[in-house]
């Protein structure tokens, strides 16, 4: 591909037309608003993840895309065609259910062939496609098995093959890995990514597992109480979270109370409460001088040392090691600062040593590159 920047990140290219467009989608159940005015463009070939806790509306959104629920307001367009009123069986969309919903009274081959039969394809073509799908999910030897003779992982692959057999424009995956055990989950995760890359089919994955979302997704939409809080690439939402909630949702974060003392375009200077250390941090938000905010720093961005760092790029604070957890490749320290706050530090163990280089009750300096400060408005 010649223009990698726009094909890798089609959402940045204004020339690109979205494959799926959600326009002002809301869904009410009785008095309860499950999905609240969601607008979203998803582009061809994306592996888009909708992430949120239970009851955040992510499954309802997916079900509206599949056609099992009608939005109360708003429109859904696929390839520019309004499909809001189309029943599920006339949408160019297929879904892989969380329960897999493999038909128990049909064998593997008939499960995969089912959607093709409904399309009215000729027999020979169906057989060829089923064989192709069985190969794709490595179930060639299981074609005649009934679902109750398969393991959970195999059933999941049948469900995947069955949905992919129809060559949909979009594949919807509802918690695709939730029912698998940890080891299988990691393996399947990579298989899903490779499959998506090879087939070029747009995937929309709903999940509650932020790690799963981070490793799978081209982009993540974080959903809470029916709304999208932030949409971005995994590194964007991790490194540039839009709020304290998102910062905390994706891994650990140390939070410092601060107030804005100066603001210039793209940057703010904030003074930490307590020792008044001034931090200059990048932000795209307009924050008024004097307003309060939180400064967030991820544990792995912190350096722990017995000597103060000399480079002025570092923000430094002091404390005493209160707790230490050794994981081999890294150690987690909990350090109490002078104003009583406990800060978590995750450090790679670069040096080989049987002793802890930093031990309990040591006086230490905590420092971080100022550019690693995340500004999280109240």
């Amino acid at each position: 591909m010649s223009d990698t920047s726009s094909s890798d990140k089609p959402w940045l290219d204004p020339q690109q037309k979205p494959l799926i467009r959600l326009e002002g989608i809301s869904k009410q159940f009785g008095g309860f608003t499950a999905v609240d005015d969601v607008n979203l463009d998803i582009y061809r070939g994306e592996l888009f993840t909708i992430l949120g806790g239970s009851g955040c509306g992510k499954s309802t959104l997916l079900r509206m895309l599949a056609g099992f629920e009608q939005p109360s307001t708003g429109r859904i367009l696929i390839d520019g065609v309004d499909i809001t009123q189309e029943p599920p069986y006339r949408r160019p969309v297929n879904m892989m259910f969380q329960s897999y919903a493999v038909f128990p009274h049909m064998n593997v081959a008939r499960n995969i062939a089912y959607g093709l039969k409904k399309e009215g394809l000729p027999r020979a073509q169906i057989d060829a496609r089923v064989a192709e799908m069985l190969k794709l999910v490595q179930l060639e030897d299981f074609a005649q098995r009934k679902p109750d003779q398969l393991s959970g992982g195999q059933r999941q692959r049948v469900a995947l093959a069955r949905a992919l057999a129809k060559q949909p424009k979009v594949l919807l995956l509802d918690e695709p890995l939730a029912a698998l055990d940890k080891k299988l989950r990691e393996q399947t995760q990579f298989e899903l990514m490779n499959l998506q890359y090879e087939l070029g089919i747009t995937f929309i994955v709903v999940t509650h597992d932020q790690e799963e979302a981070m490793t799978l997704a081209s982009r993540i939409a974080v959903m809470k109480e029916g709304r999208f809080l932030q949409t971005g690439t995994p590194s964007e939402v991790y490194e540039f979270p839009g709020s304290e909630y998102i910062a905390d949702f994706f891994g650990s974060v140390n939070l410092f109370e601060a107030s804005i003392v100066a603001a210039d375009p793209g940057y703010v200077t904030a003074a930490l409460e307590g020792d008044g250390t001034e931090i200059r941090a990048a932000t795209d938000r307009e924050l008024a001088v004097g307003s309060r905010c939180k400064i967030g720093v991820r544990p792995e961005k912190l350096l722990i040392s017995q000597e103060p760092p000399s480079d002025p790029i570092y923000t430094v604070t002091r404390g005493v090691v209160e707790d230490l957890a050794y994981y081999g490749n890294r150690s987690i320290y909990r350090v109490r600062t002078q104003n009583g706050q406990v800060i978590q530090v995750s450090a790679q163990n670069f040096q080989r040593s049987a002793q802890h280089l930093v031990a309990w009750d040591d006086e230490v300096y905590l420092s971080w590159d100022t550019r690693c400060s995340m500004v999280l408005p109240e």
């Binding site: 919903a101 038909f103 009274h105 959607g115 399309e119 009934k146």
Partner: protein, 301 residues
């Protein structure tokens, strides 16, 4: 030896008792009476108390002698009356079973899809007729179906008919009675299979391009098959041998086998012949059930 490795004698006794009780029940209340009936069916009718000959006789001259006869069975085959009434019973029971299925399936389906607080209420309504005596219910039907009954009155008042229809003492009344009485036996097993059906399966089929009718044909119906068979047997078996319903609601031409059986026992006092009728009835019922069972076994790998 640890206790976990091999169950103690107490445990084994207990397990034996639990498994044994149903067998004991079957032996006492089914096998023993059936053996009695079977025995009588090979005897000759006599004017005595009880009205049948002994199977084994003893006399000074001959010693013990087995006196069994197949006359009763031969008579059943030779006299057209019995074959006709068997055939008519099978036909009526079969049609009634199909009617129950056609009525019961939508009911069970609707109940299974109703949200919980209402679902139990609907199930209760299905079972409600069990709370009153079936005899009373049939009397109520007699009143309703008679020439001056509610149904005829309503139809006449609506102007749909000018003279009252003759429903009571016809096959129609028998069908109504059987379907009314045995419908819950169809609805309940159907409900249990349909209720266990994962709704994701319907949606998955729809998602793969099946229209609602195709979803019903491809998913709902085959998945409900165990319930259909169970409900069908639960209706067909009692309907085939039912006596009260055809006796009360049916006419002279509705001679079902239950009625014939009753007549032979109590009117003609021909116990051996009646016993033969009962034995054949049992065979008529058991053979298809056993066939079905072996078919089920084969289908399982």
């Amino acid at each position: 030896m640890t206790r976990a490795a091999s169950p103690g004698t107490g445990d084994r006794l207990w397990r034996g008792a639990v498994i044994g009780i149903p067998y004991f029940w079957l032996a006492l209340f089914f096998l023993a009476p059936f053996a009695l009936v079977l025995k009588i069916s090979f005897a000759d009718p006599i004017l005595a108390q009880p009205p049948y000959s002994d199977l084994i006789t003893w006399s000074e001259a001959t010693g013990y002698r087995l006196q069994a006869t197949l006359d009763n069975y031969r008579f059943l085959v030779e006299d057209n009356l019995y074959l006709v009434s068997y055939w008519r019973s099978i036909k009526i029971a079969l049609v009634a079973t199909i009617l129950c299925l056609l009525l019961g399936f939508p009911m069970a389906y609707a109940i299974a899809r109703t949200p919980q607080p209402w679902r139990n209420l609907l199930l209760l309504l299905v079972m409600l007729p069990f709370w009153t005596s079936s005899l009373l219910q049939l009397y109520a039907w007699m009143v309703m179906l008679s020439q001056q009954g509610v149904i005829n009155q309503v139809l006449m008042n609506l102007g749909l008919i000018s003279t009252p229809l003759k429903i009571l003492y016809t096959n129609v009344a028998v069908y109504i009675g059987i379907v009314y009485t045995f419908l819950p036996f169809m609805v309940l097993p159907l409900y249990t299979t349909l209720e266990r059906l994962d709704p994701d399966l319907y949606e998955a089929a729809e998602d793969l391009g099946a229209s609602p009718t195709q979803v019903f044909r491809d998913i709902t119906l085959p998945m409900a098959m165990p319930g259909i068979v169970a409900g069908g047997l639960l209706v067909f078996i009692p309907a085939l041998g039912s006596y009260i319903i055809p006796a009360m609601l049916g006419g002279l031409d509705t001679l079902m086998i239950g009625r014939t059986l009753y007549d032979e026992f109590f009117l003609n006092r021909d116990w051996p012949l009646a016993s033969a009728v009962a034995v054949i009835l049992l065979l008529v019922l058991i053979v298809p059930i056993m066939l079905f069972q072996s078919l089920q076994q084969e289908r399982k790998p």
